[in-house]
Subunit: 347 residues, 2 copies
């Protein structure tokens, strides 16, 4: 890490002409209108008719003074904000999530919501909910599980009209989009069995925070082998070359003929280690990942994978907006994760 040089105290110059923050009263004075008129114009209130010249005068005065409305003051007056809070995911997110998030954010901003992501490093579950509640968001979208019914209640008591979770399971009081990661594992398992594999290893990543995805994926594979002669073997694995090298060195004694590698990045790691050990893919070991990342197509043999269909950001934004406008709406659950096997060369 590069050190940022300490700023020497000598460079602390006397504050240069500290201008005070302009207020809507300053704007009203300069434009020669009431504060209420300033508020109507700058908040684009359609309920009140204001002439075009007045509107222009207010905008020009605001611009001249550099006035920006104060979201917190506005939300205190209105009794609620237009802020939709999303905690930052705990784990590094891939391109798939980034794309989904950008689409969601775009759709919410078109519905006049302000999306903020709140960094919850070190906070988990209901403790995190308390920190989020301090910002008084009108809605909270939790993109992964981990929030319980108590956390949901804290948020609602603090004025959140909607709590929407993307979660592997239902949670009391929240609208939940069930991401059926079991289906991802199930699809991978069915595929391997159909390709004639019978002794399936399943990578269980050891990074903290991934259990909520990896457990249902593992259970999905177990469901797929149920009633067949195929077996499932758990393969705990850290995301590093040494751990993968040990797995590959043990491969032949494990007596497996296939591996579901949790996702494409783990699959790349495992495939490389197996190839370095001289194990033929797919002959000696069929490999399948999940997420359908570009890198899987760049591997040789090309990586088979499970493609995930995340919910459309626009549909999720509409659910949030509906729930905000109708706080009495009974919490709903929807199954929203589609899973499709992309068969390539590695399986």
């Amino acid at each position: 890490m590069v050190q940022i040089p300490k700023v020497p105290s000598e460079s602390a110059l006397p504050s240069p002409l500290q201008r005070s923050v302009p207020t809507s009263a300053d704007v009203a004075r300069l434009a020669g209108v009431s504060r209420a008129t300033v508020s109507y114009v700058l908040n684009n209130t359609s309920a009140v008719r204001i002439s075009e010249p007045t509107r222009r005068r207010v905008h020009e005065a605001a611009k001249e003074l550099g006035y920006v409305p104060h979201a917190a003051a506005r939300s205190l007056r209105a009794g609620h904000s237009r802020m939709v809070l999303m905690p930052t995911p705990h784990v590094a997110v891939g391109g798939l999530y980034s794309q989904f998030f950008n689409e969601l954010q775009w759709a919410l901003s078109r519905l006049d919501y302000t999306v903020v992501q709140y960094g919850g490093v070190g906070l988990r579950g209901d403790e995190a909910a308390r920190a989020w509640a301090e910002l008084r968001p009108v809605a909270v979208i939790v993109p992964s599980g981990g929030l319980g019914p108590e956390g949901v209640a804290v948020l609602k008591r603090s004025g959140a009209r909607a709590v929407v979770m993307l979660s592997p399971e239902a949670v009391d009081g929240a609208h939940v989009l069930i991401l059926d990661h079991g289906g991802v594992g199930y699809s991978a398992g069915r595929h391997l069995i159909e390709r004639g594999r019978r002794r399936i290893g399943v990578v269980v990543p050891q990074e903290p925070g991934l259990g909520i995805y990896s457990r249902p994926r593992l259970e999905g594979i177990r469901r797929a082998v149920n009633g067949t002669e195929a077996t499932v073997t758990e393969l705990p694995l850290a995301y590093d070359e040494q751990a993968a090298g040990r797995l590959a060195a043990n491969w032949r004694s494990l007596d497996l003929d296939a591996v579901f590698a949790y996702n494409d990045e783990y699959a790349m790691l495992v495939m490389r280690a197996l190839q370095d050990e001289g194990i033929g893919i797919p002959d000696e070991a069929a490999v399948i990942g999940a997420d359908d990342l570009m890198l899987g197509r760049l591997l040789r043999p090309r990586l088979s994978t499970v493609h995930l269909d995340l919910p459309a950001g626009r549909d999720l934004a509409e659910l949030v907006d509906r729930a905000v406008r109708e706080p009495g709406l009974a919490p709903t659950t929807h199954d929203v994760l589609g899973a499709t096997v992309m068969h390539r060369e590695s399986s």
Copy 2:
């Protein structure tokens, strides 16, 4: 995309016992203390001595009522917030940035700041600054360039005490950590020349938003070849297999002997396309990436890369805190990006 089923209107039940949001006055009444005492206790004010039993009573009352302090109200009273705002990057971020960001966030939360990431989809430059200003952050950290002196002024007039940018260039009014991406290109160029290469192709990614990184990297390579007999050829490239395939098919007519591929992900794409075309790496084409991602070590031949040393999150957090406490501090610039070539097998 999976469609979220529309919620039928029938499920809009009458609002279940709408409890009103508890206030600090409710907590004061239940605990039998003044509102000021509630505020002192819950905000951990050390200036006022309050007995342990009173403290406990306030905490218990707050817990019973489910009261959470209101950050916006507190910041209106205090005249400023403890909110540090960071815009969400426009481009998908890799693991390197995630790690830096987590460390920064952790360090700021230990200094009692609340970090929120603001989604600025569709907003650029000074227009974005206006949207950020509405949240009245006490400090703004801009992790990439794109904000001009006017945007900085808008933020400062709205009460931001510090604007800190990680940027390729200095900006009036802001503390700027200069990320010298030119040094990344320069290091890669020097390395290739030392390895005997003379006709260097430089990948220029066509994804929008990457120009602020790719332009200085290209200039850095030009600096490295300056005064040598080596030449630089720009290779515009989209991040897809077809574009890489066309580049590889043309490779021999381009008459190049090396390529700096912008980063490791582009390097993986280019290397695959060249290998599929039967072009030997590094003999016919030396390849070097940047970022030092795990995937480069998993390629064969192993990918040479430029390792970036980002500033330590803790040092950056301290700079922010210092600037908040001393708003008169003259804006400073620091060069903070270190670049080290990791020579492996591809060059």
